[in-house]
């Protein structure tokens, strides 16, 4: 199947992009104007809460790892989740460690964790040494994390962000020390290993939904709701299109219009014929 050089190849593309852009922008605007947008509580959050509960029972520390995530959208969202976890454990004075591989993420994390203790009303519990920059080299970072997980026999291990092959080493070590492990990542290639070695895994878009749910940030919420509308549109098109294809045949101009590059011309031709003939 071909590709698009310009929107003119099939104006349906411009229509779809316009629809999604409007759905996102209108919802962001609604959220900013103070409308309460709804996002469901995903099961991953229950898993997080359960893991927090277990670690407070054991009294051993909790680790949070943003992996090699560079500073960007995912890092900000991972820190939102870490901040939430820190606020929960602050109430029980459970110690925590946040281990980073990126200098910028490290600086922002320090601030976020200090904030979390303040917001939980326990600024006295904040220990600047609990947020650490280990190394920016992949395997040096991984072995640093593995060493710490083993030495401190952590009770729960949270991994959120973007991960590469080093994820295996974290998950394996966490498993050996018997920690409850929750992972959340948009790196699809690492998800299988997390599913195999962790207690619960938050997959792909769920990661963004989790941080939007926690932070209630209008831009994230609005965007999430807008994206949902787009997914519903895609789903309906697939369902409707499959039925139409079955009835009209898969080569019908209407079916070609719905996304095929160059599908606009045959469709207009067909319309002209219909109008001229009818």
């Amino acid at each position: 199947m071909g590709s698009y050089q310009h929107a003119q190849d099939n104006w349906f593309a411009a229509f779809m992009i316009g629809f999604i852009a409007l759905a996102v922008l209108i919802n962001i605007w609604r959220a900013r104007a103070g409308r309460e947008l709804y996002i469901r509580r995903i099961p991953g959050l229950d898993a997080i809460d359960e893991a927090i509960g277990r670690s407070t029972e054991l009294g051993r520390p909790v680790t949070m790892i943003p992996g090699l995530t560079a500073f960007g959208v995912e890092a900000v969202q991972a820190l939102t989740i870490f901040k939430y976890i820190t606020k929960q454990i602050a109430r029980f004075a459970t110690p925590m460690r946040l281990l980073t591989a990126n200098a910028t993420v490290y600086a922002v994390a320090q601030e976020a964790i200090a904030d979390a203790y303040n917001e939980a009303g326990r600024p006295d519990l904040y220990d600047p040494d609990s947020v650490r920059f280990l190394s920016s080299e992949q395997f040096a970072f991984a072995s640093g994390v593995a060493g710490l997980l083993q030495r401190e026999r952590v009770a729960a291990n949270f991994m959120f962000g973007i991960f590469f092959a080093e994820s295996l080493i974290f998950a394996e070590t966490g498993n050996i020390v018997g920690a409850v492990q929750i992972a959340g990542t948009v790196s699809i290639t690492q998800v299988p290993f997390f599913v195999a070695a962790c207690d619960y895994t938050i997959i792909g878009d769920e990661f963004y939904a989790t941080s939007a749910y926690i932070s209630r940030e209008p831009v994230l919420l609005g965007s999430m709701v807008g994206q949902d509308l787009a997914k519903i549109a895609f789903g309906s098109l697939i369902l409707g299109g499959a039925v139409l294809s079955t009835v009209l045949g898969a080569d019908h101009p209407i079916i070609q219009l719905l996304g095929k590059p160059g599908g606009w011309e045959p469709f207009m031709e067909w319309i002209r014929l219909k109008l001229g003939g009818g």
Partner: protein, 226 residues
């Protein structure tokens, strides 16, 4: 004895191969435990990789796309491109760091603008491919349609829709929707399982390539192939 003669690092070529083997063993020594030998070669690796990139950056990019056009074609306005790009390097400076965001902003803007073509070319043909799957023998079919094709089309549409349902967040999942989403997560696991299997194969192949080097180039043992 001939093998020993050839094996030993007595020629330039063999010294090179031995150095290659040394590098391999140095990195593998971390499997035993963290050690200075490994650290030494790790840092050498990072330094070499960074230094190597300079040649292609300077000659394939800066010379080819900047200096040549200014000098040979007299496109004078290109002279402004590198100074503007150099604003990036203020990023570590606290006072002037913000000017780097002008360049980063332009790059981000460019990629955002390019996304519209990517969205159309990459995703819409996939959408069209999914919605043109026929679910029953069509009335005006060209060519024969097998029952197996129809079954696979049904499976395709059902899996696609249930996984999409799993990834919706703006409404409560209840009843049938909840069950569909749950099944969606299970289907997702099939896709992840295939990624798992393929990833294992890839990782093993990389190790096999290394062992092959040691056997074939270093120890000079003819390997595999039936």
């Amino acid at each position: 004895m001939d093998w020993i003669q050839e094996f030993l690092p007595l020629s330039v070529e063999r010294i090179n191969v031995w150095i290659g083997a040394l590098c391999t063993f140095a990195i593998y020594s971390i499997l035993y435990r963290e050690n200075p030998f490994y650290r030494f070669f790790e840092h050498m690796y990072i330094g070499l990789a960074a230094g190597y990139a300079l040649g292609p950056y300077l000659v394939d990019v800066i010379y080819r796309y900047w200096w040549e056009p200014i000098r040979a074609d007299g496109i004078w306005w290109l002279a402004f491109v590198v100074p503007f790009g150099m604003y990036l390097y203020f990023i570590y400076n606290e006072k002037y760091g913000w000017v780097s965001r002008l360049v980063i902003g332009s790059l981000i803007g460019a990629y955002a603008g390019l996304t519209f073509q990517a969205f159309s070319s990459r995703y819409l043909p996939q959408l069209q491919g999914a919605l043109s799957k026929v679910l029953w023998y069509p009335p005006n079919a060209t060519g024969e349609i097998y029952l197996s094709t129809l079954i696979n089309n049904w499976i395709f549409v059902i899996i696609l829709l249930s996984v999409l349902t799993y990834f919706t967040f703006s409404f409560e999942h209840r009843g049938a929707v909840k069950r569909t989403a749950l099944v969606g997560r299970w289907f997702l696991m099939i896709g992840l399982g295939t990624i798992f299997g393929n990833t294992v194969m890839a990782r093993m192949a990389l190790l096999i390539g290394r062992v092959y080097y040691l056997l074939d180039s270093w120890l000079m043992i003819r390997v595999g192939g039936g």
